[in-house]
């Protein structure tokens, strides 16, 4: 396994990084195929599979009926019998339509069968609010899946992560869910042309700092970097960490940071109550309690379905300003 750092020469958008990774993965392994709604002829409503049908044909790039349970089960059956499927579920909200396949079947078969099964399956989906698509097309439900033993969950924060984590997910011999955020699909960054992996279960220090740690997922990583810049004026030198993989979680990197900075906040776009940040915060206080000078803060969406009206959605969305404000509030509570 090699991790190649991105040369500063080529910038591509997040969406193209995904498409490029799919193409390279399918070229290297004839057992990799992609199935999902409108992924073939149309190239996916988000454009993440554009061009694949032409190169790989309809057997490997499969347009499915609108049948999420069927599609997900197909992925499981194919994975259990030697293929390496990628199942695309257009919006993460639709994961609720195929929960039995994901939770009771895909996640557990290996264990229930005493280890005899191997399920190299990738579930690929889009989360996130901010597009005026209302309550059933905007959710970030990653915490649900982190709660299920047997699943791995990754959440890319930009184009480089999107490609590297997707490659690692597909090459992994376990079910891995890739949770993209639709509002950063246009984000551009350096992405190496050759195929590369970002190792699963390894966090990344995005911005080194000395006296505050922000642990953020998905779109909140770039928002946290912005917040860190805002907080310079407050005399803070914020370290921003992107766990990249939520399950398994890289406790070590985060704890090391907190031991140095003594203060931490976790940020995600999902609803705060019961979000993955709650687990992260709990791990930080378990492992670094003696080092903490303030309670571990949490920024997430308020406990409400995602509203349609742009004014309400704006109110709903976590962002850099809300992260910076929460950091300042925590500092007021400092021991």
């Amino acid at each position: 396994m090699t991790t190649i750092e991105a040369p500063a020469t080529r910038e591509i958008p997040y969406v193209s990084a995904i498409a490029e990774a799919f193409g390279q993965l399918m070229r290297e392994d004839p057992n990799v195929f992609i199935a999902g709604e409108d992924v073939a002829l149309y190239g996916s409503v988000f454009g993440v599979t554009r061009g694949l049908l032409k190169e790989f044909g309809p057997q490997r790039v499969v347009d499915t009926p609108i049948s999420e349970s069927g599609i997900m089960g197909l992925g499981l059956g194919a994975a259990a019998t030697g293929l390496r499927p990628v199942i695309d579920i257009m919006f993460m909200d639709f994961m609720a339509v195929c929960m039995d396949e994901v939770v009771n079947q895909i996640a557990k078969i290996k264990y229930m069968f005493g280890g005899t099964a191997r399920i190299p399956l990738t579930i690929h989906t889009m989360a996130g609010a901010g597009t005026s698509m209302a309550a059933q097309h905007s959710q970030s439900l990653e915490a649900w899946f982190c709660h299920i033993p047997g699943l791995k969950v990754v959440m890319p924060s930009g184009p480089y992560e999107a490609k590297g984590l997707l490659v690692a997910a597909v090459r992994d011999d376990n079910p891995v869910m890739v949770v993209n955020t639709k509002t950063i699909l246009g984000m551009k960054a350096h992405v190496p042309e050759q195929i590369y992996e970002i190792p699963l279960g390894k966090a990344n220090v995005v911005r080194p700092g000395s006296n505050f740690t922000i642990l953020a997922t998905g779109r909140m990583v770039s928002e946290s970097v912005k917040a860190a810049e805002m907080l310079v004026a407050d005399g803070l030198d914020v370290e921003v960490i992107d766990p990249r993989t939520l399950q398994p979680f890289d406790t070590e990197t985060v704890v090391q940071s907190v031991r140095k900075t003594h203060r931490a906040l976790v940020a995600h776009e999902a609803v705060r109550f019961g979000g993955i940040g709650a687990e992260f915060a709990a791990q930080i206080q378990e492992e670094a309690f003696d080092y903490l000078d303030a309670p571990v803060g949490r920024v997430g969406a308020p406990f409400t379905p995602v509203p349609f009206s742009p004014v309400l959605e704006k109110e709903y969305m976590p962002n850099a300003e809300k992260i910076a404000a929460e950091v300042r509030r925590l500092l007021g509570k400092q021991a």
Partner: protein, 327 residues
């Protein structure tokens, strides 16, 4: 079936109101005035109108992501509809739902829905309730050809027939699920054939012909009302516009020639020709119906644009019902 002149004119008026509502909404979405995604009903008006003229306010419908036409046909308030599309506090859902969740429980409109295939189980629940409460209300479940591939439809169809529920499954087969043509998403040609598997009648209907829709829907609804159980109606129709927004021509998933061919059987045009031939509606009178619809739609748009956005505090309201004094 004998159709009175009054009913014919009513059918026509409902169709024109849907057409006008949708054309204007599409333009406003493309101009960036209406946020989010609108799934427009243009081309399919005969289905909503032909079904809805048979329904009372106390009868329910479940709708889809393509739901404006259903609510307009059921007598929805255009002002509240537009205000909802604009995300205003005066909208049907106080701006919280938008196009995909537009609803009017007082009219028995149990909601547009963002989840394909969500309607059928909800519809059988409403039908169960109608029977349970001893009413003779009927529930009509609208769903697409694409939705007929979700397990939810099959489970609901089985239960509806098993319990002889007063429900009508109204499949709007417009030939596509998003960008996937029917023959690429199911091996059956007639979705109505699926009814046999559940022990209910299944009937193919010309969904561009409002009178054919009227007739078939009338029989199925009467059957449900009489306690004789569900029917699956498959309306063959066509979406003139794109899956989202207006375009619809010059797209990769279908030929323009096909669109033009279907447009020759424009349901609004068909009914107008028929009514003119029968001497019921002169071209001038038809034009007046269009003008009146446009005036109503413009009034609704003006109302929406003048309406306030919700207060930010509304974000945290309406999540739970106040129950025994506790929210």
């Amino acid at each position: 079936m004998d159709i009175s002149n009054g009913v014919l004119l009513d059918l026509h008026r409902r169709m024109v109101r849907i057409r006008t509502f949708e054309e204007e909404a599409g333009k406003l979405m493309e101009a960036g005035k209406i946020p989010g995604a609108l799934h427009l009903y243009v081309g399919e008006e005969a289905v909503a109108a032909g079904v809805m003229v048979h329904l009372r306010d106390s009868d329910q419908i479940t709708s889809t992501h393509r739901g404006h036409g259903h609510l307009v046909a059921k007598g929805g308030d255009l002002r509240k509809m537009y205000a909802e599309l604009y995300g205003r506090a005066t909208g049907y859902c106080k701006g919280k739902g938008g196009s995909m969740h537009i609803s009017d429980l007082d009219l028995g409109m149990l909601g547009a829905n963002g989840i394909v295939g969500a309607g059928p189980p909800i519809a059988i629940g409403a039908a169960f309730s109608n029977k349970y409460r001893g009413t003779d209300n009927v529930t009509v479940c609208f769903f697409g050809d694409g939705a007929s591939n979700e397990g939810t439809f099959h489970e609901a169809a089985n239960m509806a027939a098993l319990y002889k529920l007063p429900v009508v499954f109204a499949c709007e087969n417009n030939g596509f699920g998003e960008f996937t043509r029917q023959e690429r998403h199911q091996a059956v040609h007639d979705i109505a054939d699926r009814a046999a598997g559940y022990g209910m009648p299944g009937i193919v209907v010309d969904g561009m012909d409002a009178l054919a829709v009227y007739e078939a829907a009338g029989e199925a609804i009467a059957r449900a009302r009489a306690g004789s159980g569900p029917t699956l109606l498959e309306f063959k129709t066509y979406r003139f516009f794109d899956h989202v927004g207006i375009r619809g021509m010059g797209v990769i998933y279908r030929e323009d020639a096909e669109v033009l061919q279907w447009r020759e059987r424009d349901p609004v045009g068909l009914v107008e020709t028929r009514l003119a031939e029968q001497g019921i509606l002169s071209p001038e009178a038809a034009a007046a119906v269009h003008e009146a619809a446009l005036a109503d739609v413009r009034d609704a748009i003006a109302f929406a644009e003048a309406s306030p956005f919700p207060e930010p505090g509304a974000l945290m309201e309406d999540i739970y019902t106040v129950s025994r004094g506790v929210a």
